[in-house]
Symmetry: C2
Subunit: 183 residues, 2 copies
DNA sequence: ATTCATGCAAATTTTTTGCATGTTC
DNA sequence: GAACATGCAAAAAATTTGCATGAAT
């Protein structure tokens, strides 16, 4: 019963709705020793901890993989999307899976003021994408800066930790809101 | 029906229970133009937006100020602590206040894997304290690095934003967990 | 005085759990 | 075949809201 494919019985020939497709396209070799979010990585990770590889777990993680890194989902959204994708996963299981995958470091919980916990893929350890968020209107920009990654690595190794990922959260006022504040 | 509580001006002459005291002691001059979390800053901020300065709001913010920057609280905890500090603030009001102060940028929400939303003071714009968190056991270390602040400022101004605060979140495996993973 | 915030309790929403059953190892 | 994950529905949290009253400007 080895399972290397998306799922045993559920979505064998469907168009994959661009989700899986995109996921596949987005996973070129990156940081070999830290690439752990691929199906294989999932298998390995689960197995290492004596956890089982179920279609539900694969679907949840697959969903995040198909999302691109910028996006995040709440438990409810994960549930809805899976339903829409013909993948029946109970909300309770979504919660259980989200917790499991987070505790394994495959997903990470985010800090957004949107209400409800949100999760995103935590795979690309050495990718450097950071967030610039307007504290007033919520407008969000992404940016990169190698210096940040370097700082994260320095901090990690300085404390004897092994880096998994680092994200800089910059809270600021966007131009529009600066003006508004002033008024 | 009148409320059963003491009354109008709740804690006028009480000992301030170390919270307020500590808060006061912890607010030396820092970044003059951005120091907005002090009582004065609160007054100004509230006033600017046509919001009222109520004892409840002051207490909630005061509580965070007395905490030091490293710590964060959930709504429930805020409520409990205020009760313990002889400051009666209903849970509903705690929630409303937390939301208000967050939307004003005085507090910020963070989402740690601990369950429940948590908030922390978001005042010291130019302070640079960042987090190194073990994704497996939750162990947390704090560290500083001016380069990070610089990167945040660069990103902000590069997009025309005005920096409020930036925090680097480094997710990693602590030494103990690296060993455990290996096992 | 007027307008808005608070407290209370009820309504909602979010997250967790118990158990019987279906799956993974 | 044994151990464990899932689904369902109920339970427990967490968060929001309606309203009458109290307080801030």
């Amino acid at each position: 019963m080895d399972v290397l494919v998306p799922s045993p019985s559920q979505a064998p020939s469907q168009p994959r709705s661009a989700l899986q497709a995109q996921a596949a396209g987005l996973l070129p070799a990156q940081a070999p020793e830290l690439l752990q979010a691929s199906p294989n990585g999932l298998r390995a990770s689960l197995h290492d901890r004596g956890q089982r590889l179920t279609p539900q777990r694969q679907r949840v993680l697959g969903l995040f993989e198909g999302l691109g890194e910028g996006r995040h989902l709440s438990a409810e959204e994960v549930h809805q999307r899976l339903l829409g994708a013909q993948a029946r996963v109970s909300l309770a299981t979504v919660y259980r899976t989200l917790r499991l995958l987070s505790s394994m470091g495959l997903l990470q919980e985010l800090e957004l003021p949107e209400g409800g916990r949100r999760f995103e893929l935590a795979g690309d350890a050495h990718r450097d994408h950071h967030h610039l968020v307007c504290v007033r209107c919520g407008r969000t920009e992404e940016f990169e800066n190698p210096a940040i990654l370097a700082a994260g690595e320095a901090a990690a190794s300085g404390h004897g930790f092994r880096l998994v990922e680092c994200v800089l959260n910059v809270r600021a006022l966007c131009p529009g809101c600066v003006a508004a504040e002033r008024a």
